[in-house]
Symmetry: C2
Subunit: 338 residues, 2 copies
Amino acid sequence: MAGPTLRDVARRANVSIRTVSNVVNGYAPVSDELRARVQVVLDELGYRPNLIARNLRQGRTGMIALVVPELDVPYFAELAREVITAARVHGYVVMVDQTDGDADHERALLGRDSRATMFDGLLLSPLTITAEELRQRGNRVPIVLLGEHIFNGSFHHVAIDNVAAAHDATAHLLDLGRRRVAAIGDQPYATGETAQLRTIGYRRAHARRGLPVDEELVVPTANFHRRLGAAAMDRLLALPEPPDAVFCYNDLLALGALRALTRAGVRVPDDVAVVGVDGVEEGQYSTPSLTTVAPDKAEIARAAVGTLLSAIDGTATSAAEIVIPHRLIVRESTAGEV
Amino acid sequence: MAGPTLRDVARRANVSIRTVSNVVNGYAPVSDELRARVQVVLDELGYRPNLIARNLRQGRTGMIALVVPELDVPYFAELAREVITAARVHGYVVMVDQTDGDADHERALLGRDSRATMFDGLLLSPLTITAEELRQRGNRVPIVLLGEHIFNGSFHHVAIDNVAAAHDATAHLLDLGRRRVAAIGDQPYATGETAQLRTIGYRRAHARRGLPVDEELVVPTANFHRRLGAAAMDRLLALPEPPDAVFCYNDLLALGALRALTRAGVRVPDDVAVVGVDGVEEGQYSTPSLTTVAPDKAEIARAAVGTLLSAIDGTATSAAEIVIPHRLIVRESTAGEV
DNA sequence: TGAGGTCTCTGCAACGATGTAGACATCATG
DNA sequence: CATGATGTCTACATCGTTGCAGAGACCTCA
């Protein structure tokens, strides 16, 4: 089971362990003749360095962990892809874990027996955990927070400007002349901070134009999945005065809403226009294709990984607050033909 | 940076390192009084065990790696989710890596400096690597292969019956009375074994019914993404005698094809019926919703993790070949209303 | 009372690698 | 020829943990 160690190679080649190590790493000067001799034995035995031992000695593992609520949510899958790619550039590999939005599971991450100590750093996309909890645990592993929550400057944080993103999406609909713009995805409770920011943006777009918000059109959802998007849309369609546009707080909600609209025979965008947030690839291929506010995911990943690595190096400035640009991508669900 | 070690705690509590270790692990008998005293110091210093050191000592890490071509392909994201869940049941965590279908990157996994030695085992969904290559590398880390390739019994292998799956999909279309059933996704070259199996199933369904296959209708694609599905569909629609049904080798191709059909104003399923493979959630919400052959992904994950863990334990029988059931899920893209 | 058996606790070695310091040749230099 | 600079190689300690063997203290029982 266990492979040959430096010791095995050293014995067989009649040299010191250290010399074999030097050959393997090409560090110190080793004569060509000896190097060749050792190399032969290395190949014969099929030596592979034991990275665990190397890590212990060096005090770092070259691994970071990415913790997201759900990996099968396209936004997180696409983000994970970018993070893995960005980390690879720096020679790091990424452990992906998912919390299922489960508070206990999120907290276990910080507990005594968490595997967090196996990683040089943590990228955390929290749903339920609060800044206070994070602060209390005297966690030694550097952390960068992604996207969710307001953390008043205690931690490194990478996100888009959620208020602006929501504002842009809503403004787009209002500028098309829609006057009953619904919002799907509010979460008016403690852990729904991102959603609340988007609600603020939604209201602000109305306020700037001197338009009222019909509170009936603001529909909260417990999560951001397709199913609830469809359910919320069904409810809106049942109103005596249904909306002529919908701003959904993410693309999955929007895709669910699209589905509900199509099923109900409502024309999109003629009768109801739809906008989402996230810029997932799926929205390019839906029918109709989905207008969305897309964060620059590659840039989020690069910034997050970069910040984390400098925190690991100790070169990080205190608590970076990084805002990543987003842009509105107009497609059929608001523009008709594209 | 580095946290307190057992030594630090031991010194402060005036006990041996070993005793602190015993308190932490609850292993050996420690008197209640001493246990309490040590616990106080543990809490004071905020001790966290160094998992790297523990792993070195114990020779295992409690981590397995899952290697997939692309994490943002919904099938793999959904599979990754199930694998992470299945591994968690056994106390394992999962490192997710993606190869981008890049041959060099896949091979690097097995090379001298791969991080494979950091994991107790590997779940590998290979695209380009061959059994021969796998065999040559004297890899000491247990491997279970997922889905792709034919490996003639040299490795543990978990997959669906690709021929049967393709047969079932095609048969469904033929049984609806379609007579020009196209196939999108063939890969008639060395690394396209899965695709080739599906082509066999496609042909078999025709053969069993004594129906001919029009070779013009078998369209190869370089990968299994939405874009190529749309492109292939465009080509098929341009034929003098276009198909009345399409079997796509995965759901992404099918969703791309749906998009192309809708854009071209072709009615689905009235003019052309569409079937995919994979059972991704996206297909439930597309318009029209997508008929698909769905493998039992949770079962794939459970079987793969289970097999891998018994290989790690050494209790594995030689080279398990596990076939996971699949089932046809009929939706609007072939059935009209659902 | 002393032999044997718990019950607690400790010290040493080991996991497999690397950092450091120095040993030993060899060579050039004054 | 002594000196020191190089070039090669080695021995030892160390990273933080756990396995193992055993040391004492205490109790039990003949």
